[in-house]
């Protein structure tokens, strides 16, 4: 366990010592007290991705979700409004909902029958004379303080005050715009079902890895080899792709420079227009002259702090469990009006993140070995300096590095440090 700090880095704030420009301390991944502090200062405070509006399409639909350690019920009430309820009865604290999903205008706790509307409001309780009659209790299910969505992606913040979702997403909004811009109807659905992968690793290894362009040729050599995918070559020092620090902890691998040079529609998806004719026709119908550009440039590869990873054709929802454990929920993107593309997206996602998939399993092997590794005593630090000497600023003012550089990680840590240094 790497918990003691060497004397030469004493001074400054605790996180000045732990998070440095070119290295981060191993205890950040192994110290339970740091994890507890992360829950308070990050997961219970900032905007966290919870789910997608398409998971509750009908009035009175609900799904169980996680927001870090909080069991949350995402509901759509009879008027269509979304709510994130804390799954806890106001009477004795029992979990009210047990099913993963359902449709019900009200929820009845199985312990003593307390009944809530799907807005969280207490509707009634049995034998009400014991409370002096009906409507005598100012109680209800807990609610996530703030709920907001962007293009159907639903986020929750347990803090009543703080930056708006719009401010939190910042430049990452443009990446979600890119994704929905590949739908002929301008919207995506995440209704194909979520795969749940328990991962014995600190959550930050995942957040860092998602835009690490250095590892794909090693970790993902098997799937690139089997599928003949041209994607692996995009993550090399010869690539014109860039790693971009989008600010606010968000980062992306921008592969568009490579795809533009090939100028082949649907290359990003590993196919050709003639194999998805319905989709291509619908894109031309929807976007006219701009359809070609969209289909050449493809979908984003973006990590939105702290837990939403959009990986072109699939979406990951990362939720921490403990200092050395997290869960990865993964699902295939479904394009509204996407025709035959959607079935292919499901098939490709099964191949990459399914139970026998070859992408997520390989990454997870690295995460778990990484966790075991940092629990060793020496060396205490993890190096994040790759590309530090060759970064530049792009036309929009964002710091960019080469395709294999750790620019995204450094952006993550800068934002992480600012949140962890805030007052409790």
């Amino acid at each position: 366990m790497t918990a003691l700090l060497p004397p030469e880095i004493e001074g400054g704030s605790r996180f000045d010592r732990l998070v440095q420009p070119a290295r981060v301390h191993g205890s950040l991944y192994t110290d339970p007290s740091i994890f507890a502090e992360e829950l308070r200062k990050i997961w219970h405070r900032t905007w966290v991705f919870v789910g997608h509006e398409s998971e509750v399409p009908q009035p009175n639909d609900y799904v169980r979700k996680q927001l870090a350690d909080q069991d949350v019920v995402m509901t759509r009430d009879k008027d269509g409004e979304l709510h994130l309820l804390i799954n806890r009865c106001a009477h004795r604290g029992l979990q009210v909902c047990d099913d993963k999903a359902g449709n019900s205008s009200s929820f009845r706790c199985p312990y003593h029958g307390w009944t809530y509307r799907n807005t969280g409001e207490l509707l009634g309780y049995p034998y009400n004379k014991g409370y002096g009659g009906k409507n005598k209790l100012e109680l209800g299910m807990g609610k996530v303080a703030r709920v907001d969505s962007y293009h159907g992606f639903v986020f929750g913040s347990l803090a009543a005050e703080g930056p708006s979702l719009d401010e939190h997403l910042g430049a990452a909004k443009g990446e979600i715009d890119r994704l929905v811009g590949l739908s002929p109807d301008g919207q995506v659905k995440l209704d194909a079902g979520w795969l749940r992968h328990r991962t014995r690793s600190n959550w930050k290894f995942l957040a860092e890895n998602e835009t690490d362009g250095y590892h794909p040729q090693f970790v993902h050599g098997s799937i690139f080899g089997v599928t003949g995918s041209p994607i692996g070559a995009l993550y090399s020092d010869n690539s014109t792709a860039v790693t971009r620090n989008l600010g606010d902890g968000h980062s992306e691998n921008d592969l568009r420079p490579e795809f533009r040079s090939f100028a082949e529609p649907m290359r990003w998806f590993g196919t050709t227009p003639d194999r998805v004719p319905g989709y291509v026709a619908a894109m031309h119908e929807a976007y006219g002259d701009d359809a070609q550009r969209r289909m050449i440039e493809g979908a984003p590869h973006v990590m939105i702090f702290p837990n939403l990873f959009i990986a072109e054709i699939q979406v990951f929802n990362i939720q921490p469990v403990a200092v050395g454990e997290c869960v990865q929920y993964a699902t295939a993107v479904q394009m509204a009006g996407g025709h035959e593309l959607n079935q292919r997206m499901v098939s490709q996602s099964i191949g990459s993140v399914g139970p026998a998939g070859m992408l997520l399993a390989d990454d997870t092997e690295m995460y778990e070995r990484n966790q075991r590794g940092v629990e060793m005593a020496d060396p205490e630090w993890l190096d994040v300096r790759r590309g530090l000497g060759r970064e530049s600023v792009d036309a929009a003012g964002f710091t960019i590095g080469a395709a294999t550089d750790e620019t995204g990680m450094r952006g993550f840590w800068t934002h992480y440090k600012s949140l962890m240094e805030a007052e409790d």
Binding site: S106, T115, P126
Partner: protein, 92 residues
């Protein structure tokens, strides 16, 4: 109460529902984690009715066309009142 329809009294005899939500001899089941009821059309009377059974207790209620229409027109607030456990079933 007899529930077997008399073919002589009706022009149309409804068949038992089939499909993934139907239980033979019980009917179509409408359920969530909070309640489980079966619904089927009953033709033992002079008009068709809906037979609703609370499968957790076996309690049965028949709802005629006018009663069903009234439920459709029930204001949401009134329906919500019916969901209060103290309203009828667990009245203090």
């Amino acid at each position: 109460m007899a529930t077997t329809p008399d073919p002589q009294r009706h022009d149309v005899v409804f068949e038992e529902p089939t499909g993934p939500l139907a239980v033979p001899g019980v009917g179509a089941v409408v359920e969530s984690e909070f309640a489980s009821v079966s619904v089927r059309l009953d033709q033992s009377g002079n008009s068709v009715r809906l037979r609703v059974e609370d499968l957790r207790t076996g309690r049965v209620r028949f709802l005629d066309a006018l009663e069903l229409e009234s439920i459709v027109w029930l204001e949401d607030g009134h329906l919500t009142q019916l969901l209060d456990p103290s309203h009828e079933r667990w009245r203090g």
